[in-house]
Symmetry: C2
Subunit: 293 residues, 2 copies
């Protein structure tokens, strides 16, 4: 049996949201601008997808995802020198501001009466010890336009925006001293609707280094499932993990390797995040992919 | 056909989460303390419910709800003199801090270098013009313990906590000069799993004034559905609304009345929220309910 034609289905079942063309232009401009400076671009999809059960809907079939992994990965890719298109679901976690997800922000604020001038509202840095550093980095990233956030709500919006993103970053004209095909964008797709991988790899972004994520509850079938996904979709890597241990253990599976990444107790004590290791592994793999072409 | 026995099903299908007993004690203490001061108690459930599709699950059948209505209603009930038990879903909107849901909090923060002392992080009050007032009120409410937030994630947790809440607030011993049965708590249940209304009204909180919410996409069947819910579950009121107009129009339906509440364009310009009208209507109805018993 052949794969269903998602492109056809997309056109048939879901009208193109009105803002897709405008967003596509912004993404292409973003990608072009960074490519002209020799900067690599990664597309991260994050935050799960909502599937409407009725046409005008009050119930959804939802994927489990706060968007934590997508948001933190975006930060580490920026630290690694990438520009990031962050295609994320409405109200999912966001790079840099994700630190607020564990506190009620009002518990971290204080009223302060100044002798001169206006009364102020000040962040209590005992409640949020990293806020100064994080805000500073957020403002630098904003200033240098290294992060392009694109928001989606419904599945149809996500699919059209993903297609637009892939096309926008795939058609970058690279500077002459680089070989165009060898510097394709990195496509990191968390919480991907599985069938969408096929047109993404084959049609929308054939030169990209595409990574999908696989979250299982049963560790024993993890590797097998990851390998089968690579066989089926012919993309470059699967980051596989188990629900219970996903914050501290993943396997990065490629057609010819399976590398385990693990946080030790010591790592956890030092607030090291597994996403730092994942991103480090993936940027190396991306470099190798570029060198091989 | 008879209603399924939810109580039995609860025990059968879902183990009682470990923290329910501890939460129940806290709620009972909260209700007892406020009742002893003659303060009425309202229980608000907010933020939708997640229904696990598998036992260890990565996908959910979800209700559409950001929790905006529950969070703002909690604020208006506190202004009306009630103490509020806020049974809300993890990551749904929260009283007072709900104003942050429309901005990236980092966009509202500024680094500030002080001549003396530590560098500070300050809220930009041009981005959040109400922050000083809202934070002040939040701190007063916290100080006077008028708000008891209880969080849930899964459906089973929600059901057990709701039952515990109803029992905790129903068994309040009122001061002698009040008749116990006439000062039952107000039970405001947004996004209620429908079948749960039956044991709530009949068994868990028979003396409470119970309100359910009905969200429809079709306005023509709204009133009929609300009346049918009252007939079936025998509770006191249904707040009925239509998806598209829910921020500006509701009908409060009781067994012998249907009152339309509507925001005019002028109201909207003045940032009046429909929840202020709903809460005003419901507190009056609650008073009447108490007087009649």
């Amino acid at each position: 049996m052949t794969e269903p034609n998602i492109d056809g289905k997309l056109a048939e079942e879901f009208a193109v949201p009105a803002h897709v063309e405008e967003v596509k232009t912004r993404m292409a401009e973003f990608a072009r601008c960074h490519a002209s400076e020799g900067r690599r671009v990664v597309v991260i999809t994050s935050g799960g997808t909502k599937v409407p059960l009725e046409s005008r809907t009050v119930r959804f079939l939802d994927n489990f995802s706060s968007g934590r992994r997508g948001a933190s990965s975006a930060e580490y890719f920026i630290e690694a020198g990438y520009a990031v298109i962050f295609l994320h679901r409405h109200r999912s976690l966001y790079p840099y501001s994700r630190m607020f997800s564990t506190v009620n922000i009002l518990d971290a604020l204080q009223l302060q009466t100044r002798e001169q001038g206006e009364d102020e509202v000040v962040v209590n840095q005992e409640v949020l010890p990293n806020i100064y550093k994080v805000l500073k980095r957020f403002q630098e990233v904003k200033e240098s336009r290294l992060l392009l956030p694109i928001e989606f709500s419904a599945l149809s919006e996500y699919l059209h925006l993903l297609k637009a993103t892939a096309q926008a970053v795939s058609t970058i004209e690279m500077p002459e001293h680089k070989i165009q095909s060898s510097n394709g964008p990195l496509q990191l797709s968390l919480n991907m609707v599985p069938k969408i991988l096929s047109p993404l790899v084959k049609d929308w972004a054939p030169q990209a280094f595409v990574i999908s994520f696989k979250l299982e509850t049963d560790a024993s079938i993890l590797l097998d499932k990851a390998k089968r996904a690579l066989d089926t979709y012919r993309h470059q890597a699967v980051v596989a993990n188990v629900l219970d241990s996903r914050r501290g253990y993943v396997v990065v599976v490629t057609p010819d390797s399976a590398v385990e990444l693990l946080l030790t107790d010591e790592d956890v004590k030092q607030d090291i995040e597994i996403e730092e290791r994942i991103v480090s592994n993936l940027t190396s793999a991306h470099q190798k992919f570029i060198d091989q072409v």
